[in-house]
Amino acid sequence: MIGTTQKPLEEILAALAEYQKIAVVGCDGCAKVCLTGGSEQVEELAGRLRKEGKRVVLEATPERTCYVDKSHTKLDPYVDQLTEAEAVIVLGCGGAVQITRQVTEELGLTIPVKTALDSVGHMDTLVSGELAMEQCQECGECILNETGGICPVTKCAKGLLNGPCGGAESGKCEVDPQRDCAWILIYNRMAALGELDKLKRFMAPKDYSKMAKPRILNIKEKKVA
């Protein structure tokens, strides 16, 4: 999922300062899991906006706001409310915000679409409702087959491919003593698998052209451009 956190209310209000009639759009996908943009949070933000004297003309939470079809399915029936709105505030990731903008444009509307959240990475839920962690950078050339299923590109603060720096102490990273050194995790995992020899292989520099922004995935042709 895409991890999100809510922006401070002052920042949200500043983004909406010029607008009175607001549509609040959430996301029942990742943002719901992060407790930042599900129906409950949409209702909560709508309530805060009303307290601030705004008029909330729509509260809607698509099943997955970053899927254009699902956003259209949820929002198209409310085209009148969206037409009345002076601005849309989205409780979703940066992708959800941009798909919402696309949907409004496709509905023939030119209204500002603002975000109430900060996107903080591709996250995996480690403890439901409690803890998520970034474990994949979507680098375009996965090396998990070589590293015991633990990604050094993401979990090592320096993204080192050929082993640890000298900074770990008591198994923890020099950047954050609460965090495990990714390379010690990889080493222990490979030792348990009896595959330590494989770690001795030189890993060539990554091809960062595979991460050149913005990547486009042609789903039909299974190609990235």
Binding site: K158, L160, G166, P177
Partner: protein
């Protein structure tokens, strides 16, 4: 002169370190920056002087400009190059720049993370790692860049690397050390070690590696500094006995005490390897004293190296 030449002659190699100033080294300004004054103290006392690369991720004068300033004074710099601030284009260009300015030695490191420095919001680069950097640098010595494109004039740099004998599990650190040797490292300087037994274990495990190693030591300047290092510098442990001994003397006598402790450790540990590397953090005058003490017993060191 390349450090490898001293090793090939079987010399016990002594190096120290200076950290470039947070400012400029412009000779015409008639001002001698601290790093240059310190390095000058070490003239004819060490084989070469490491020049750090924005150490601890604190923005300073670049190690290239400071290395050139040392070279101009007739000192032998070891240009430190980290992967933190430059992508592969800039790193390779830096190697060309370095050799073009007459520098013969480069120490290839990963670099401290930006979050430890004074520009915490900077984007950390780490496009490539230290093993890859060594391999690329060896390729440039052979006349081509990492993409295989020919260089009009190749570099001819002696390539150094670092290793941390304190690392646990040590075998994982040694696995990386072997990768560095395979990639082209010609000598190693260790992280600061204060535990002779720990260092001996490291030396025994690296006996067959076939590369010269310099025992690294940070000069502990005060009990507070020892405690600070333990609390804040990952990968180094300053034992209580050093903190206690440094605390047992008056402030005015700390330089003398630091020289005594450092000499003691170097005499005990350095004979296990082929050289010593001092990290004096501004106390280069203490290095002068320690080097004088070691030289007085050089016979012992040479004998131990040969044994």
């Amino acid at each position: 002169m390349k450090l490898s030449k001293y090793y090939n002659r079987g010399e016990f190699v002594i190096t120290s370190e200076v950290g470039p100033v947070k400012g400029c080294v412009r000779p015409s300004d008639g001002h001698t920056p601290a790093c240059l004054a310190e390095a000058t103290l070490l003239q004819n006392r060490v084989h070469a002087i490491n020049v750090t690369d924005n150490q601890s991720a604190v923005m300073r004068l670049g190690s290239l400009a400071a290395s050139v300033a040392l070279k101009r004074e007739g000192l032998e710099p070891i240009y430190q190059l980290t992967c933190r601030d430059r992508n592969r284009i800039a790193l390779q260009s830096s190697l060309l720049n370095t050799y073009s300015f007459g520098i013969d030695n480069v120490l290839c490191l990963t670099g401290d993370h930006t979050s430890l420095g004074d520009h915490k919001s900077a984007k950390a680069v780490f496009d490539i790692d230290s093993v890859q950097l060594l391999k690329i640098a060896r390729g440039m010595n052979a006349g081509h860049d990492m993409m295989g494109n020919a260089l009009t004039q190749p570099t001819d740099l002696c390539l150094g690397a670092v290793v941390n004998p304190n690392f646990d599990p040590l075998d994982l650190q040694l696995m990386k050390m072997e990768k560095k040797i395979e990639a082209g490292a010609e000598f190693f300087q260790t992280q600061a070690v204060y535990d002779p037994k720990r260092f001996e274990t490291f030396v025994r495990k690296t006996e067959g590696f076939g590369v010269p190693i310099q025992y690294g030591i940070v000069i502990v300047k005060s009990p507070q500094m020892g405690k600070f290092m333990n609390a804040n510098v990952s990968g180094i442990t300053v034992p209580d006995w050093i903190i206690d001994e440094m605390g047992s003397v008056a402030k005015a006598d700390r330089r003398q005490k630091a020289a005594e402790i450092t000499t003691r450790l170097v005499k005990e540990i350095a004979p296990m390897v082929q050289g010593v590397h001092f990290m004096p953090l501004g106390w280069s005058d203490v290095v002068v004293e320690v080097v004088a003490a070691i030289k007085a017993s050089e016979g012992d060191l040479v004998q131990a190296v040969g044994a």
